[in-house]
């Protein structure tokens, strides 16, 4: 890995960490703790397009582990881990469909992110009850996905994209 790429990864991981801290202040409309809006997916999507899948995965791991350490909350780890991985898998798949823009990829990723969080809650609780919140969370994902898609389209805008992708 080149130094420039390593630096980029570190900056992006720090940015993702900051985003997941910020979104902790906006709880989702479900009575389950630790659920995140998925703003850190901006970084995952940006990293996917500019650096490729392996660095994006590394950034995700660093963000999830450091985030759990700072929050001092091990139970939140499984949410961000499952949510983040589901989002990344779906976005890797969707980004290969060239008819989709960053918006479509981002909305799909947000939906997967929330489904992953619900799955994590079901696993932690050993109960199907959290599935009740999935429909609402999918609707939320359309809006949060559009937002992250918009931010990503700005970041990937020509000048920036050339600067980072070199």
């Amino acid at each position: 890995m080149k130094t420039k790429q390593l630096t980029t990864c570190a900056i992006l991981a720090a940015l993702a960490l900051a985003l997941s801290y910020v979104e902790g202040m906006f709880p989702l409309p479900v009575p389950l703790p630790g659920f995140k809006l998925g703003l850190a997916n901006i970084v995952t999507l940006f990293a996917l397009y500019t650096l490729g899948a392996p660095p994006a995965l590394a950034i995700l791991l660093v963000r999830v582990l450091l985030g759990a350490m700072f929050a001092g909350n091990a139970s939140a780890l499984i949410y961000s881990l499952l949510g983040g991985f589901c989002a990344m898998l779906v976005m890797i798949g969707l980004s290969r469909i060239h008819k989709l823009s960053v918006y479509g990829v981002s909305v799909g990723g947000a939906a997967a992110h929330n489904a992953g969080q619900v799955a994590a809650a079901m696993l932690t609780l050993g109960s199907a009850t959290p599935a009740v919140y999935l429909p609402v969370l999918l609707i939320v994902a359309v809006f949060s996905g559009a937002l992250t898609g918009f931010v990503c389209s700005l970041l990937l805008g020509r000048r920036l994209f050339r600067l980072w992708a070199k």
Binding site: S95, V107, G108, T124, A128, P135, S153, L156
Partner: protein
């Protein structure tokens, strides 16, 4: 990874949005369009196992699991967690619930209170 990505929404993006919304409606239909039922019982699930069924009479209960205790107050037609010593306090903030299908979750204690309606559909069916 794939060269310069499209930055302006396409009609195929709308398709992704439609699929997500269709999924939400398909999954939510059973809750949103279910006929109104009368609240009949409160199911107390501890650690993923149904532990007790409560009826709606004025009474209070303490449940302890995972090192945390939640204090449950039942009134005619509603149930709430008054106080708990869990760190997140989401169970307390949920407030009182009264409709079938509603639930209060305490994640740290792994305790769930769910209101079941008269002749309620089984909620396990959704998870397969």
């Amino acid at each position: 990874m794939s060269g310069s990505p499209k930055l302006v929404p396409t009609k195929y993006d709308a398709l992704v949005v439609l699929i997500v919304l269709a999924l939400a409606v398909a999954l939510g239909a059973r809750y949103w369009f279910a006929p109104a039922r009368e609240a009949a019982e409160i199911i107390v699930s501890i650690g993923g196992v149904e532990a007790e069924r409560l009826t709606f009479d004025d009474s209070e209960y303490d449940y302890t699991n995972n090192g945390y205790t939640v204090h449950v107050t039942v009134r005619a037609g509603s149930v709430r967690v008054d106080h708990a010593d869990c760190p997140t306090q989401d169970c307390v903030r949920t407030g009182a619930i009264s409709r079938p299908g509603q639930s209060i979750v305490c994640l740290p204690a792994r305790i769930i209170l769910t209101i079941e309606g008269a002749a309620a559909p089984d909620y396990d069916a959704i998870a397969g």
